[in-house]
């Protein structure tokens, strides 16, 4: 087996900034849920950290980056891909496989892989991987598997979260979600670094919580139709009930597979899909919250881009260092939960994200 891991990583945040003022006219009628959830956290451990945010119509969200009218899933993914190649000092020809994780692509029924490859000038293979919000961690596993088996030498993984176009602006979920893209290169690493262990569990008990259909669109990037994403009323209950078992079930098994202990892990990249997920996850595993980074206040829930954006940000801020053992976690509703333990290694880091050019639709 060839040791495999992340060689370079970069993030691209779209040029629009959406603050809570975007919804200001609707604030008076917004749903919140003060005075609920059990005081007894033994029933559902995540409830303790969730409770303080339920009286806030924005559930702790402060701001999120959103795609401008000129941006699309492909343009954002392309920007992230070019950044990571530039960071690594590589050309598209140095990559022999591209994996695209798009949630959601610019068209109905087909992901972004070939569209990205064509515009990038990449001549190797390209395919799409769909594991909802866990897609980036699932793709990391697949890419490492290809490299470890000697089937590919360097894999470019491109992740795009374009949730602002899939969610109706009036939907509760849109208040906590944002857009982002990221890319990382997977290749051979030094022995003892890269992926050391992993574990996955399906999330079949969340099936039916997210409802997808195709609706007319006027964005211009999507052939007149787009994917619409809506949540079933059971979603909050399902997610709070499944979060802790999925995290513990995968993380503890991944640590065991890596033949290390939780105490050996220097940094944890959790699925920060809400204002309380990072703290809840640290509590559920009994680890020090100082070993985490919560990007939710900056970007909101960015779906599959959470893992690479958090890891990239933590590494840029010096929180995640080359010798560190890190646990990367992803939770994909109606897909799988994934935990990966790897030694971070000498990962080349893309630049900090550019500042936004619009705030709530107005040029800065």
């Amino acid at each position: 087996m060839i040791p495999a891991g992340i060689q370079a990583i970069a993030s691209y945040l779209p040029r629009g900034l959406r603050t809570n003022a975007f919804w200001q006219a609707d604030t008076a009628t917004m749903t919140s849920a003060c005075g609920l959830v059990h005081q007894d956290r033994s029933r559902r451990p995540f409830d303790g950290e969730m409770r303080p945010y339920l009286s806030d119509p924005f559930f702790g969200a402060v701001q999120r980056r959103v795609a401008t009218a000129e941006e699309s899933s492909v343009s954002m993914g392309l920007a992230a891909a070019r950044l990571v190649l530039q960071t690594a000092g590589l050309e598209p020809a140095d990559v022999d496989c591209l994996i695209a994780v798009s949630m959601f692509p610019d068209r109905v029924g087909c992901g972004d892989a070939a569209f990205l490859a064509r515009q990038l000038g990449h001549w190797g293979g390209a395919f799409n991987l769909e594991a909802t919000c866990a897609g980036s961690v699932s793709a990391l596993l697949v890419a490492c598997g290809l490299v470890s088996a000697g089937l590919r030498s360097r894999v470019l993984v491109v992740i795009t979260a374009l949730l602002s176009r899939a969610l109706e602006a009036t939907a509760i979920d849109s208040r906590v979600c944002g857009d982002a893209a990221a890319a990382f290169l997977v290749g051979s690493t030094q022995p003892g670094s890269g992926i050391l262990g992993a574990h996955t569990l399906h999330t079949g008990n969340t099936c039916g919580t997210w409802l997808l259909d195709a609706v007319p669109s006027s964005s211009g990037a999507d052939d007149g139709q787009k994917i619409r994403l809506r949540a079933d009323p059971s979603i909050a209950h399902v997610l709070r009930s499944s979060a802790e078992p999925a995290l513990r079930g995968t993380a503890l098994a991944a640590v065991e597979a890596a033949r290390v202990s939780l105490e050996d892990i220097a940094f944890f990249v959790f699925n920060s899909a809400t204002a309380w997920h990072t703290a809840s996850s640290a509590h559920a595993l009994g680890v020090d919250p100082a070993k985490t980074l919560d990007t939710f206040p900056r970007y909101g829930n960015i779906g599959p881009a959470l893992m690479p954006v958090i890891a990239h940000t933590a590494a840029m801020e010096g929180r995640l260092r080359s010798d560190d053992l890190v646990l990367l976690y992803g939770f994909g509703g109606q897909a799988e939960a994934v935990a990966v333990v790897l030694r971070w290694g000498d990962v080349a880091l893309g630049p900090p994200p550019d500042s936004p050019t619009q705030i709530d639709g107005c040029p800065i």
Partner: protein, 104 residues
């Protein structure tokens, strides 16, 4: 607890917490609470907590969907079933849920 007590507890909670000011006769036991917009993701979570606290049951991760939480009648049947099952578990006729619970 008999079915009428379960029904009254659920109806009272819906009227006081989610439909303040609504006339009780306007809330039909067959009204689809999800399609009517009464149960969204947050109010469903609140209803789960109320059922668990009042009836000493645990609503499973996949039990708060359209099958059980559509109407008051369905909710009453669901709670009755959970209470009956709990009694059978206590009597040793069923394995404890922790022994057959799906992970993840």
């Amino acid at each position: 607890m008999n079915p009428s007590d379960i029904r009254e507890t659920i109806r009272s909670w819906l009227l006081s917490e989610l439909l303040p000011g609504e006339e009780p006769e306007n809330l039909s036991d067959d009204l689809n609470l999800r399609e009517a917009g009464i149960l969204d993701s947050l109010s469903t979570m609140r209803l789960v907590d109320m059922l668990e606290d009042n009836f000493d049951i645990e609503v499973g991760v996949d039990e708060a969907g359209a099958g059980n939480f559509a109407t008051i009648n369905r909710l009453v049947e669901y709670v009755r079933g959970k209470i009956s099952r709990r009694r059978l578990i206590i009597a040793g006729c069923f394995p404890h849920p922790s022994n057959d619970k799906e992970s993840g």
